[in-house]
Amino acid sequence: MRNLFLLPLVLFSLGINATPVDSLLRAAEQAYAGGDHQAALSGYTEALSHGRSAALLFNIGNCHYKLGDVALAILNYERALKLAPGDEDIRANLDLARSRTKDRVSELPTSQVMQRWYRFAGGRDSDHWARRTMFLTVLLFAALAALLFIRRQTWRNIVGVGAGVLAGLMVIALLMAYVRHRSINSHDEAIIMAPRVEVKSEPTDRGTVLFVIHRGTKVKVLQVQQGRLEVRLANGSQGWLEEDQLERI
């Protein structure tokens, strides 16, 4: 059943192989290996117009890192991480890139426990929880159907409890799939792109400067008013800045 759902994916990737994207990726890969990070970056960026994936965004982040632009590297790692929250490589590189920004407000490096949770919550890919939900649904109704025909009380008990567990798991999987879908499609986090940003107390020029943050720092966008954004830092500080000073993840 699971493989059946994977089938369209497999067909899709076969379709990709037939296009010039594959040779584009291979050329970028070779450029990166040869140390020409600029060429690799332009190749990967062009490939981005054909589709995206955590691996591609990860590679783009690596190119930016090697070219010395930590902020753009962080942005692409964060985007990659949204698609694959459990990917250890992305997280390791993101932690390293974060340690090279000017502001030290960002989160602590990922712990082992959290890494496990991310890997569980993230699934193998962005559709993993949706597929799990579908699989569990089929199993659940199969168990319910079996209950109609089973006469022996022992088996009825076993299958009944199994169906209950399956129903619980299905609800959890559905919730996780929903949360994953939401987090992939929400753009309420952003990376500061301006070299120096004065965060003000009001969405106007008159506002008092509350604090100053620098390129590469991650913020959460709370609301938008008059072309300005209210943002919150990882340490809880809040204030207003301008839209063009950041790039949404």
Binding site: A47, R52, S53, A55, N62, A92, A130, V138
Partner: protein, 579 residues
Amino acid sequence: MRILLSLLLVLAWPMANAQEIVFKASVDRTAIATGEQIQLSIQLVNSRERFQAPDLGGLVIVGGPFESSNISYVNGRMSSSITRTWRLTATQPGNYTIGQAQVRVGGGVITTDPITITVSKGAASPSDPYATQGQRGDANLFATITVDKSKVRMGEQLVATYTLYSRYNNLELSKYELPKMTGFWAEEIDLGNSGWEPKPRQVNGVAYNVAVLKKQVLFPQKSGKLRIEPLELTCLVNRSFFDRGANIPVRSNALEITVSDLPSPAPTDFLGAVGDLQLKASIDRASVAVNEPVQIDLQFSGRTNLKLLEAPKLTLPPDLEVFDPKTVDKVTVNGGGMSGSRTFQYLLIPRIDGQFELPRLTFSYFNPEQGRYVQLETEVFTIDVGGAAGATGGAATERPVQRDVQVMAEDIRYIRTGDLALRPADDALFGSVSFWSALGAPALAYLLLLGWHRRTAAQREDPILQRRLKADRVARKALQQAEAALKKGSGADFHDALNMALRGYLQDALTLTPAQLDQERIAASLSKHADGAEVAAEVQRILSTCDMARFTPGGASSDQGLYDAAVAVIGRMERMIRS
């Protein structure tokens, strides 16, 4: 004769007093350029009074006064004159006025006329501007601070010289304090046993005795405008046996040094050295036994602040133990600045045998003359480490000292290669039609199954319906027995089985008890169907035939036709009841 002469003198004295007294000042020229000299002569004729030099109005005495006197007899009349001469010069262009000189004669005062001197700018004025400035303050005694460069890069060395200029013959330094240096690393240059320079130095035409008090090599440690405060000292002049002398305070000029930052970004292997450097690396031997030391020398030579040069960190393979380097300096500080060499001697001890390659060490310094960073690098050394000296073959039982794996550097993980599984950005399984239908389809299938199951269950619950539904199956079973009897040719058994089959069917299908199986009831039950009467008659015929055969003594033979008729009538009834 001698007496006569004396007499004449005595006689002549009153006559001489009666001579006219002349007092006049003159110069050899009234227009000079700076640095050139004029001669001022003041002549007093026919008087022996002392007179002082007039106010020179800013002109500086270079030489003099030289005094000459002269007595002459002209036609028996004696006249005498005293001439005092000064050599003067001017350090600055402009108009100078030599004031009136005065002399008291008898009851009155005679003055000379003032003289105006025009000084133009000299053609070449090679004099030090600081000395000129000092000379303007006090033409007899001043001090200067000079530097060889006033615009430097951070860390670039410059030499500051503290010089004393004096025109006094007798001078002692009574107090002297070097200015405090803020923002500089200062290194004193040893001047040896220095005193007054043997040759006087000319400043704007005026000769001075010059003593270099001190020289320092300065290394600016921060950028911006750095100020060197004035040198202050007190000199005791003209002290002699007869005179206590005079204390004269001297304050030199201050200096401002413009220090510019080094260009950014600096190379990563730049440790702050600015100047001109060479690097020579050497290793004392290329092959050693385990635990035997190897020495690596890194010799930096050239002109820079060698005393501030830090030992570069060697990046070595982890199994080489390295000790803090020993520093050997051969540094000289002289008028040219600081130069020489500094050698770092690293002692390495290989703890494991094998071949070790010592990575190339790079070192960058900033060269201010070229205005850029210059990178020096060493060659790559290879050390061959043999087995432990004096090893006795017991090495396998010895446990080596285990250490943690050393992390030498951090870098990002490598890119993903191969197929990156690109997908369109809006392609998500969750929320898609196939997702919801994959959730809905099993639910729908289950509901259908449940409906069907409910219906069959309801049928199972109804005994009459069950009986009727089973009637056909039961009858067929009984008919099979009849068929078996038919084949055996047992007539009694055949009719018995046929009778049982038909009666059983009628009971089940028409829901009748055995007692109710009479002709009227059967006919009544079947009458509501079409052909009911005909079927009832047929049933009646078969039943009565069976009854007759059963009660016929000796038994009737089995009858294929009757069997077929029974099968046919059961089939007809089944169709009738179902419809």
